[in-house]
């Protein structure tokens, strides 16, 4: 019995909003002290002394809290912490202060397509990430296209304001190219890169691969 103890201190890992409407926070449990602990995510809001509890522990998976749109406000600070409790006591994480505006990290752009145009030009097209509303102006995305020949190490980066396509000129005939796209909101974090897309430019002399 003497191996049992109150739970260890949990840690809030990160909070993210994928579409600037809702957001999620994840935490890492501390040692459980040999007894099954329960976790509660609690928070206060700027200029509001009331303590609220996580509205939804399920939607975003284990050790997480999902704030739906009715529980998400922008331009105010959320002060978030996690409380771990077992039969022998409890432990509280550090407080994490969050303004949802600055934790927006969209999913990667989708439907990346490559098309040869002319002899050795290429048209790259893509769509905004799913669930993101870029039409009303609530969320504005910029894009970056990464391009490289398979044999090269370095990526060439092209910044694109709001369009959903990029035309590349004068590519190496016969060259094998890899293309990927990512996006960033007007204030927030870069998405991950989209899956890589591959294409070979026609032309090039036979037997160049020796």
């Amino acid at each position: 019995l003497n191996a049992l103890s109150p739970p260890g201190k949990p840690e809030i890992l990160k909070c993210r909003s994928y579409e600037k409407v809702t957001f999620t926070c994840w935490w890492k449990p501390g040692p459980d002290g040999g007894l099954p602990p329960t976790y509660r995510l609690l928070y206060t809001k700027e200029n509001d002394q009331r303590v609220y509890e996580c509205p939804d522990y399920q939607t975003s998976g284990p050790d997480s809290c999902f704030f739906d749109k009715d529980h998400t406000s922008f331009w105010i600070l959320y002060h978030i912490y996690v409380n771990a409790t077992n039969a022998l006591g409890s432990n509280v994480s550090d407080i994490k202060s969050v303004d949802v505006i600055y934790i927006v990290q969209p999913h990667p752009p989708t439907n990346v397509s490559l098309k040869i145009e002319g002899h050795n030009d290429m048209l790259v097209k893509w769509l905004p990430p799913a669930m993101v509303d870029v039409h009303t102006g609530w969320l504005t995305l910029k894009y970056e296209v990464g391009v490289k020949e398979e044999k090269d190490q370095e990526w060439e980066a092209y910044s694109i304001d709001h369009q959903l396509k990029l035309k590349l000129f004068g590519l190496t005939p016969g060259g094998n190219y890899i293309v990927r796209v990512r996006c960033i909101p007007d204030s927030g974090l870069w998405s991950e890169w989209s899956d890589a897309s591959y294409i070979q430019i026609p032309g090039g002399t036979k037997g160049t691969d020796l």
Partner: protein
């Protein structure tokens, strides 16, 4: 006089172009405000740890600004335009204070001062642009009441460095927040008024 495309001499910028310029300016002002806040936070607060929990409310918090997408989309565009103007005007005096105060902080790098001056300049230009836009959209509305939401710098002893730094930290925090609101609302308005909500 400018030579207009159709040969006349009384051509003027389209409302869409005015909005484009306003959004570019608001975006620029917000990124400068963010950089200035982060730079100040990194340089002055590690040892003082102004906890975000201690941030006091902004002088513009009495304005009933939309706090999420639904509220922002439901509000009438006249009201949203007026809110943008009120927030913008409410920063005239605080920006003058920021520029003078930053020069008094011994270790403040020139880059913070440069940003403060640039933000003050660009905010004036944005205000002029917005007055033009409102003059186009709602000529009757283009009153320019002066907003004195800001009651001046907090009453702290000049010698109390910590309190002065915290007051300044709070002001920069509010500037970053309000400049983002202005930027976000202008992007919404531009999509709604110029692109029929299909940006």
């Amino acid at each position: 006089l400018p030579i207009c495309p159709n040969g006349g001499t009384n051509c003027q910028m389209s409302t869409g172009d005015l909005f484009d310029r306003a959004v570019k300016l608001s975006h620029y002002i917000h990124s400068l405000s963010s950089e200035m806040f982060n730079e100040f936070d990194e340089r002055f607060t590690p040892t003082r740890r102004f906890l975000p929990k201690s941030v006091i409310s902004c002088h513009t918090s009495s304005l009933n600004t939309p706090e999420d997408k639904e509220q922002a989309q439901q509000i009438q565009h006249e009201d949203l335009l007026n809110l943008v103007m009120q927030v913008l005007r409410s920063w005239n005096d605080p920006l003058v204070h920021i520029v003078s105060e930053v020069q008094d902080f011994r270790e403040a790098p020139d880059t913070i001062l440069w940003k403060a001056v640039e933000i003050e300049e660009q905010t004036k230009r944005l205000l002029e642009g917005m007055e033009k836009i409102i003059g186009r959209i709602h000529p009757a509305d283009s009153g320019n009441e002066v907003n004195s939401l800001w009651s001046g710098p907090p009453d702290v002893q000049q010698s109390d460095e910590n309190s002065r730094l915290f007051a300044f930290y709070n002001l920069l925090h509010c500037l970053r927040r309000d400049s983002h609101k202005i930027d976000n609302y202008l992007k919404l308005l531009k999509c709604r008024l110029i692109h029929d909500s299909i940006c």
